[in-house]
Subunit: 329 residues, 2 copies
C-alpha cells in the first residue's frame, strides 16, 4: 500500500514527501532523485543573488539541466526574488510542476503562477502568514515550525502550527515542515491532519546534495541540541532579511562568538565579513554556516536521496498499519 | 477499542492521557476527575512554597482530601521540593500511585520513591535531562517540548524531543508533553513512539481546575501566537529558578513591558512586586501571570475534564483506525 493523500493526488506523486528547496543545496540532481523515487523534488534557488555564494540565472539554468526530465518544482526566497524579476521569468518559461515561495509577500507572483497552471506552494511560519497565503490562492500550504533548519521564525513549532493551519485551510492540503526526517514523523504529521511532509536537512546528507563533504559529515555528527536559531550569519553575509526571521544552524565558533552581540558584529562588519568569506571559501565549518534542523538527532549517515524517500514512506506505512489498533508502545 | 500502551499497563489506566501537575491549578478535584474518566490525574504541588501564592503542607492536605479515593499522583518542582523535605514525606506517607518530578535533580528523591513501589515519573526538556532521569531509575519519562505552558526550556520542541528520547529510553515508556490537547495530538504522539501524552492547558479550561474564572476565560480567548516564554513573572514573584528555565504565558501588559528588560525589572523589584501582588490578588490578568501552552489555538471552551479525556481518546482511536491505510487528507 502506498499512502495516498490530497498532496499525492495534486502533484501526481507516489509518496507524500517533498524536498525542501534548500538554497544552494537542493540542486537539480537532488530534486530529480527525490522525484524519481516517488517524492517531489524542488530546486532551491534561494536568494537568486550570487552575493549569497551561489545562485542567479546561470546557476539555475545549470540546475534545471541537471534535473533532466524529472517532474520538479522551483523555489525561491520571496522577498529576494522580488529584486530579481528575471529569475521568476526564467523559472516560469520552463513550466515547472510547482513554484515554491517562502518568506515574504507571495501575492505579486501568485497570479501568474496560477494562471499558467503551475501549482503554487506557499510556506508560512504563523497563522497570519497562512491566512495571507490562502488569500493569495496557494494550492498547498507548508506549515514550517521553528524546528526547521535554515531560515524561519522562532514563534511556532511544527506540531502546534500544523494543527492550527489544518483547522483554517479547508480543502487546501497542508504539509508539515521542521524536524521531520523519518517515517515516524510522516505518520505523526498525517495524524495531525497534514497531507505530507517537507524534508530538508535529511536530504542534505545525501551524495546528490550540493555543498561540501565537510558540511555533510558535520550533519551526521552534530546533534539537535547543538543547533541554534540566529541572525549572525545573515548579518555577516550582508543579507538583508526582514524582521522576525532567523536561521537555524549548527552552533560553531562564529555563532558562539557573535550570537547575542549582533550590534557589535555590525560595527565590525567589514573585518568580519572578509574573514567569514575566506573561511567559507576554504570550507571551514567552524566559521561558516551549516544550516540544520532540530531533527539532527535522527541523522547518522549519508545515503542516497531515493533510499531516504523509500525508507520514510515504508516506515510510515508500517506504522499506520501496525499502530492502527491493538497494542502500542 | 481502547488504546493500550506501555503507559496504560504501567499505571492501570484506560486512556494514555496524563494531567500535567500544574502548580496551584491541578488540585485534587481536577486530578480525581481525570483519573475517574480513565486518564491519570496528578496534583500539582508546584513549589510547595506559599510565597508562590498557593501550596505548602496544609494546601496539599486539602487537595489530597479533595481527590478522595481516586488513584492519583503527586507532583512537585524538584529544585523547590529539595527546600521543603516535609512535603516529600507528606506525599510519600499517602502512597500516591505515582510521584512526578520536574525541573531539577531527581536523584535525591528517586531511591525512596522506587523503594516504596510508587511509580517515578520524571519530566525532562533535553537529552541530557533524559539520560539523567533514566540513570535515576525513572519508570516513565515525560518529554516536554518548548510548546508547553508554564515552566520549561526554549531549546527543544515536543516533536523532535519525543523522537530523540524514544530512541534512548529502551523499555521505559515516553510521554509527549507540550502543545497537545486533542485526539490528533495523541495519535501523532503514538506514531512518534510515545506511549501517551501529558496535557496541561486544556485541563485548566475546566470547571474542576483551580484558578480564577477570568484566567480560564482568557485561555478560551487568547491564541497560540499570543503566548511568550519569559522569566519576568518569576523575577517579580521572587522565585529563584535555576538558569535555562522560563515560563510560557499569555502575553499581557506586564510581560510586554518587562520582557527583554529583566535587569531593569530587578532594579525596580520592590515597587513592581508590590504592584504585581496587588494585581494578582485582584485577579487582574492584564498584570498577573496566566501560564498557557502553544496548543491554545485548539481551546475554545471550558468543559468538564472527564469529557476532555473521553473526547481526546475517542478522536485518537478514530484517527488510528480510519487513517490506517486508504485515503488520507
Amino acid at each position: 500500500m502506498a499512502i495516498a493523500t490530497a498532496l499525492t493526488r495534486l502533484l501526481s506523486i507516489t509518496h507524500p514527501i517533498i524536498l525542501a528547496p534548500m538554497g544552494g543545496i537542493a540542486g537539480g540532481r537532488l530534486a530529480a532523485a527525490v522525484s524519481q523515487a516517488g517524492g517531489f523534488g524542488i530546486i532551491g534557488g534561494g536568494y537568486g543573488n550570487p552575493k549569497a555564494g551561489y545562485g542567479g540565472k546561470a546557476w539555475m539554468e545549470e540546475q534545471l539541466r541537471a534535473a533532466g526530465n524529472a517532474q520538479i518544482g522551483v523555489g525561491y526566497i520571496t522577498w529576494s526574488l522580488a529584486l530579481f524579476p528575471e529569475l521568476f521569468d526564467q523559472a516560469m518559461e520552463r513550466s515547472p510542476k510547482a513554484f515554491f515561495l517562502s518568506f515574504g509577500d507571495e501575492k505579486p507572483f501568485a497570479t501568474r503562477v496560477k494562471a499558467t497552471g503551475v501549482t503554487l506552494i506557499c510556506q508560512i511560519q504563523d497563522i497570519d502568514g497562512a491566512k495571507r497565503a490562502l488569500d493569495a490562492g496557494a494550492d498547498i500550504i507548508v506549515a514550517q515550525g521553528t524546528e526547521a533548519g535554515g531560515h524561519g521564525k522562532s514563534g511556532r513549532t511544527t506540531l502546534t502550527l500544523t494543527l492550527a493551519v489544518v483547522d483554517i485551510a479547508g480543502a487546501v492540503p497542508v504539509v508539515a515542515a521542521g524536524g521531520l526526517s523519518d517515517g515516524r514523523g510522516l505518520a505523526a504529521a498525517l495524524m495531525l491532519g497534514a497531507s505530507g511532509i517537507l524534508v530538508g536537512t535529511r536530504f542534505w546528507a545525501t551524495p546528490e546534495a550540493l555543498g561540501s563533504d565537510a558540511a555533510k559529515r558535520l550533519l551526521t555528527e552534530a546533534r539537535s541540541d547543538d543547533t541554534l536559531r540566529t541572525r549572525v550569519f545573515d548579518i555577516v553575509r550582508g543579507l538583508d532579511w526582514p524582521e522576525g526571521y532567523s536561521g537555524r544552524a549548527i552552533a560553531n565558533d562564529f555563532s558562539r562568538n557573535w550570537h547575542g552581540h549582533e550590534s557589535e558584529l555590525e560595527r565590525n562588519l567589514v573585518r568580519e565579513a572578509e574573514a567569514y568569506w575566506t573561511a567559507a571559501r576554504a570550507g571551514d565549518t567552524s566559521k561558516s554556516v551549516v544550516f540544520a534542523g532540530e531533527g539532527l538527532d535522527l541523522i547518522h549517515d549519508i545515503k542516497p536521496a531515493g533510499d531516504i524517500v523509500r525508507m520514510v514512506a515504508a516506515e510510515a506505512e508500517r506504522l499506520l498499519k501496525t499502530r492502527a489498533g491493538a497494542d502500542l508502545n
